[in-house]
Amino acid sequence: MTEVTLLDAVNLALAREMSADPAVVVFGEDVGRNGGVFRATAGLQERFGAERVFDTPLSETLIAGMAIGMAAEGLKPVAEIQFLGFVYSTIDQIVNHAGRLRNRTRGRLGCPMVMRVPFGGGIHAPEHHSESTEAIFAHIPGIRVVIPSSPHRAYGLLLAAIRNPDPVIFLEPKRIYRLFKQEIEDNGEELPLDTCFLLREGSDVTLVSWGAMIHETRIAAERLSDSGIEAEVIDLATIKPLDMKTILTSVEKTGRCVIVHEAARTCGVGAEVAAGLAESGLMSLMAPVERVTGYDTVMPLYQLEKQYLPGVDRIVAAAHRTLES
């Protein structure tokens, strides 16, 4: 058992799977010699060689596209895009190829690739370095979108993502990269994809979130508990495909739901959760579903990022509102 940060956990999972499976290759901009701008791939090139851990020319289209080619050839590419703000040119490759290679070839060619991308606000980063646009990927058929919220889940979910036979976009909430440590055992044990994680049990209201916002959501749950309200906290973890069952089961018990995300509100993943509740959980709901989200604005530069990011107060207030009805 070692105490590690989320960032360390990513590094451990990569190293673990690289030793276990010679098909795993790691590449991207500045991931080799430099060990990644966040140090997520630190030490991997020394350990596994410059053929399996390498730097690419500066081209995200290339990185995503070559990952698809490698995956079709039976390698297990784990590509890094330096920040989510630079991922958009890969969308052609992801939508038109990664998400449908299997389908187009009736199962003949698969695409077992992982694209790791740090994302989210809150660290005073420059422009284009703080957005949360995970919903863009969640909309794409044929891929998975996975977001860890702790070192433990980063380790287990990344292992699962690499081993998964289909493409996974693995979004790493960089605000909590080094926020806290957890004991994890580097035993190669994966965690399940396609399922939510129940982080806290409660009977009064269900709080649903993912990524860095889990941190605020849990604090909000403790605050609510101080005033006698017991919140259930659910971490979506895999935002696509979405495990509505866990959420519906919880809402059957609580009758109330607050969805929390950093991303802009309109067509955020929260809208999908709310739609799922409207479709299948309406009879359990005792209050309208609340969403606590980023605004439908461009992510502001850092002087206003605090005002943009949903905070604990807003989550607590929303939970109270559901209890008033």
Binding site: V37, S59, Y302, Q303, L304
Partner: protein, 381 residues
């Protein structure tokens, strides 16, 4: 000056005769020329360009490079003190921006990446504007003077296609303006760049692309970016002119960029200029370059410092003195300090400002979000 003419006829496809010829006859050849006027020792090689005979012009270059460096030093200090966010230094690249800014006309359009402060200052962008931007406040990109210049561009090379659009608009209106697009060596690996120079060539647009080849793209050395011996030769594949210039020689830069600007202005199409320079600093204040490059390499490039060589030349010509240097130092410090004070005095924008320029006018359906933001996130109305 020749009026620009639009190409109106649709080019024909080549006739089948292109298929007839001697086996293995070369069908294309190219050369890339390297231009240097002032060597690192401050000595003039070859004939002195006309403009460089005017010492006031050269002193003007020196002053801008010096002030830019004073600004850069201060910005890094502010970042270290927690008074500025991540900052991208232009240390060592002052000549490139100074030459660009000096030969552009007011009505031209600059499409920078993020290290072209030397050019931006000459365009009329204020030091506090750049500080505001890296200090997390959008107002820094609302330039008072170069109203049509593009803001700093962080997604690498994504500004290159914009230059094509700007160039096209200029041509469509028969204007004698030019778009100047600056990007890094790393940027030349991106499709955006290739697509832009290709299209600029197809339409003969009034654009000057300047590749500030500072030898590094974060930890990636220039030769890991491309096997091409020069980045300038990428122009050849796009069918446009390409050349290499000593990017630490402000005189050669001015001469070549000016020439490219005149050519573009007169309707004779785009040029790609590769300026060979060096990033003497870390990539940004968030980077530690010692992890991936040697001190001796950096030391070697310090010997090619663009400021030192121009100062040597000016001194040798009797046009610069210790006293002038001291005065410039004092003046620069004053100017930078004034800008820093202004920057620090500007309060953060109010929360509602997130909505102010989202659209020309805010859609009704977003009003409640704006109110909520103003009230610190209350969403109960």
């Amino acid at each position: 000056m020749a009026k620009q003419t639009a190409r109106t006829s649709i080019p024909n496809c080549p006739s089948v005769s292109v298929l007839q010829g001697a086996t293995q006859a070369p069908v294309a050849r190219f050369e890339i020329h390297y231009h240097q006027v002032l060597d690192p020792k401050g000595q003039i090689l070859g004939p002195i360009p006309e403009f460089a005979k005017n010492s006031e012009t050269l002193i003007g270059f020196y002053r801008n490079m010096f002030k830019t460096r004073a600004f850069d030093t201060k910005a890094i200090a502010l970042q270290r003190r927690g008074q500025l966010g991540t900052y991208a230094s232009c240390l060592g690249q002052e000549a490139v921006g100074t030459a660009i800014g000096s030969c552009m006309r007011k009505e031209d359009v600059l499409l920078p990446a993020y290290r072209e402060y030397a050019a931006q200052f000459l365009r009329g962008v204020r030091m506090q504007d750049i500080l505001l931007y890296w200090g997390g406040n959008e107002t820094g990109m609302n330039f008072e003077i170069p109203r049509r210049d593009f803001p700093i561009c962080i997604p690498i090379a994504s500004q290159a296609p914009h230059a094509v659009g700007v160039g096209y608009a200029i041509r469509l209106r028969r204007e004698q303006r030019v778009a100047v697009c600056v990007l890094g060596d790393g940027g030349t690996s991106k499709g955006d760049f290739y697509e832009a120079i290709n299209a600029a060539g197809v339409w003969d647009l009034p654009i000057v692309f300047v590749v500030a080849n500072n030898q590094w793209a974060i930890s990636m050395p220039r030769n890991a970016q491309s096997r091409a011996e020069t980045l300038a030769q990428k122009a050849i594949a796009a069918g446009i002119a390409g050349e290499q210039v000593d990017g630490n020689d402000v005189i050669a830069l001015y001469e070549r960029i000016e020439k490219a600007l005149i050519k573009a202005r007169n309707g004779h199409g785009p040029t790609l200029i590769e300026a060979l320079t060096y990033r003497l600093s870390d990539h940004t204040t968030a980077d530690d370059a010692s992890r991936y490059r040697s001190e001796s390499e950096v030391a070697q490039w310090w010997r090619a410092d663009p400021l030192v060589r121009l100062r040597r030349y000016l001194s040798n010509q009797g046009n610069w003195s210790e006293k002038a240097e001291k005065e410039l130092e004092f003046e620069s410090q004053q100017e930078v300090e004034r800008a820093v004070r202004e920057y620090l005095d500007i309060p953060a924008q109010p929360a509602g400002s997130m909505f102010d320029h989202l659209y020309a006018s805010l859609p009704e359906s977003l009003e409640w979000q704006r109110r909520s933001a103003i009230q610190g996130g209350r969403q109960d109305d």
